[in-house]
């Protein structure tokens, strides 16, 4: 029983690490631009497909593929910012609807480019850390966890210790005051969008060898991310990370002892409950980012 719990805990930590990458990006975009990016799950999917294309098909090194995933999806984020979110700045719900349109375009392009079949990606390594007979941690999973910690740490450093990060937080708190301080809204939006999208892309790239890659994989990712950002408090980065961990544990435990669909239902019900009882989230305040 203890071994089962330990294994469940490891699985949960692994899930929490890529979920938090996605959710933090979503929160960052919402905080700075006031838009809920519905296409965020599809950005994850595009990240996964860069690994399919570069690592599985073109045999490039895995690290190159995930770096490319981060940059390429980040650039995609810039395209979204410039073409949709900037012209729709005064219309946040319009931005959301436009992102739904973008989601469909990305899905269709993936289906046309790669087909709807599931992609099988050769594992980066077969190695497994064996704690005991029933408690094992495949090395690729450990890699995702380490990468998440490193990336989130870098983001934290960027936001707290650099001028750009300061500008970003300032314009998330009060865009008008920030503009008066000479902070360019367009520039902070670009940075937030690049980082937010890039994080989703790199999360998709990192997990690509561990999940089934297909054009519709973004759906469950965005549902999960919504749950996490609502539970964590919309606009709170720390809340998003904490909620990722909580959600991953709940979901993994329920999946282990019942099944995955029930776990999804539990997660969604948790989110509805938070929306009803405490819409500012369990860990957040009502402020944006």
């Amino acid at each position: 029983m203890i071994e089962l719990l330990a294994q469940t805990g490891l699985n949960a930590l692994y899930a929490a690490s890529y979920i938090s990458l996605v959710a933090v990006g979503l929160v960052l975009i919402f905080g700075v631009m006031g838009v809920i990016n519905f296409a965020h799950g599809e950005l994850f999917m595009v990240g996964a497909y860069t690994v399919v294309a570069l690592y599985a098909d073109l045999q490039m090194p895995f690290l190159v593929a995930i770096t490319f995933g981060l940059i390429f999806v980040g650039l995609l984020g810039l395209v979204m910012e410039r073409s949709m979110f900037r012209p729709l700045r005064d219309n946040p719900l319009g931005g959301l609807v436009a992102s739904i349109g973008f989601l469909m375009i990305l899905q269709a392009l993936a289906s046309i480019g790669f087909g709807v079949r599931m992609e099988h990606i050769p594992p980066v390594t077969q190695e497994v850390i064996v704690f005991s007979e029933k408690v094992r941690l495949p090395l690729p999973r450990l890699f995702v966890m380490v990468a998440a910690v490193v990336l989130l740490g870098a983001l934290w450093y960027f936001l707290r210790r650099t001028r750009f990060g300061w500008a970003l937080r300032a314009s998330a708190q009060d865009p008008e005051a920030a503009a008066l301080q000479g902070i360019s809204i367009n520039q902070t939006a670009r940075i937030a969008m690049f980082i937010g999208a890039g994080l989703a892309g790199v999360a998709g790239a990192l997990t690509a060898p561990l999940v089934s890659v297909n054009p519709h994989m973004g759906h469950s990712v965005i549902v999960t991310a919504f749950i996490v950002i609502i539970v964590g408090g919309v606009g709170s980065l720390e809340g998003a990370v904490l909620a990722s961990v909580v959600y991953a544990f709940v979901h993994t435990v329920v999946t282990t002892f019942w099944d995955g669909v029930i776990a999804d239902i539990v997660g969604l019900s948790l989110m509805l409950l938070v929306l009803i009882v405490k819409p500012t989230g369990l860990f957040g305040t009502a402020e944006r980012a």
């Binding site: 719900l93 959301l96 469909m104 375009i105 269709a108 919504f226 669909v261 509805l272």
Partner: protein, 337 residues
């Protein structure tokens, strides 16, 4: 006089229409007719200012319920369809308690979550929902004759006449509701809920009312769909379908009664006639996505705004009751906490 002529001409055209189409086009016509009901009911829902992402799932509730009642209790199909609609309305009533504590984004995401929960329940519980494969062999409409015309429901033309009649009645009902004091109150709740409250309007009750009625009509649309296709599954009512509905509504515009219907008809024609003939069927989501983005960027008031502009010289008084010039997705935006 002119008005009566217009309606007679329209009715004649709609009766004659299927005979000018191929078999597969007739089938599309049936779906289009049902989708008109779906999108028109969606507009009714948005009248009070909230945009739901659960509408297609609610349609599915009507479909599942109606299929279930015929299968389990042997209910006569048309009666079962009505019961399906009632079931959808009741489910919406239950959902409205948690959902209408939210506004704007939160309502949107909350409705999305509620819809997903329902869809997952269908997926999870093989009994009675049939699990991921859904329900099959749903009882078709029984054939009948009205003297001048024999309804044979394996023919799409027959089902089209049946569905079109039902949809026409529903549209008439929705029109009556919107043009009534109830409809005026819906608009009032949308534009200034505080002022409406000060005038004694129970805003919550009216939001719920619009949501429940719209859901009933959506449920009926779902039942019409289920008994025509004969098989439904959780994926028949997924987010992609919801995006189609959103696209129809936004491309057509939601300020007028006919806007979303116009959007639905134009896009269906574009999709089925143009794309299918040109062999671009696979690109449908891509093109819908692009149209959604382009219309929200460049035609935020929808196709209806073009029609209204063209009709303006012919109108004596400004159309009352249907305030034009509204970019709907913009309005609840101020609810960001």
């Amino acid at each position: 006089m002119l008005k009566a002529l217009f309606w007679i001409a329209l009715a004649a055209a709609l009766i004659a229409l299927p005979h000018a189409l191929s078999f597969s086009q007739q089938e599309i016509l049936v779906f289009l007719t049902i989708n008109v009901l779906l999108v028109a009911s969606y507009r009714l829902l948005t009248l009070t200012g909230e945009w739901s992402l659960a509408h297609v799932v609610i349609m599915g509730v009507g479909a599942y319920a109606s299929a279930f009642y015929t299968k389990e209790f042997g209910v006569f199909v048309p009666v079962s369809m009505l019961l399906g609609a009632v079931t959808a309305a009741l489910v919406a009533m239950v959902l409205s308690y948690p959902l209408f504590r939210m506004k704007g984004f939160y309502f949107l995401i909350g409705s999305f979550a509620a819809g997903e929960i329902i869809r997952l329940l269908w997926k999870r519980f093989r009994d009675p929902f049939g699990g991921p494969k859904g329900l099959k062999g749903i009882e078709p409409m029984p054939d009948f004759s009205i003297g001048i015309y024999d309804f044979d429901f394996f023919e799409p033309v027959s089902y089209y006449y049946f569905a079109a009649t039902v949809v026409a009645v529903c549209l008439w009902l929705m029109w009556r509701i919107e043009r009534s004091p109830v409809g005026l109150t819906f608009h009032a709740v949308h534009w200034q809920d505080k002022l409406a409250q000060a005038a004694g309007v129970n805003v919550q009750a009216y939001r719920t009312l619009a949501f429940v009625i719209a859901s009933g009509f959506a449920g009926l649309a779902g039942a019409l769909m289920a008994h025509y296709i004969g098989t439904i599954n959780p994926n028949s009512f997924d987010v992609e379908v919801m995006v189609f509905v959103l696209t129809w509504a936004i491309v057509g515009g939601t300020a007028t009664f006919y806007g979303p219907i116009l959007g639905c008809v134009v896009l269906t024609i574009l999709n089925e006639i143009v794309l299918r003939e040109m062999g671009f069927e696979q690109m449908r989501p891509l093109i819908y996505g692009a149209i959604l983005i382009l219309s929200i960027l460049f035609l935020p008031n929808g196709l209806e705004s073009l029609v209204e502009r063209a009709l303006k010289p012919f109108r004596r008084t400004p159309a009352s009751g249907t305030p034009a010039g509204d970019a709907p997705p913009a309005s609840p935006a101020s609810d960001t906490p």
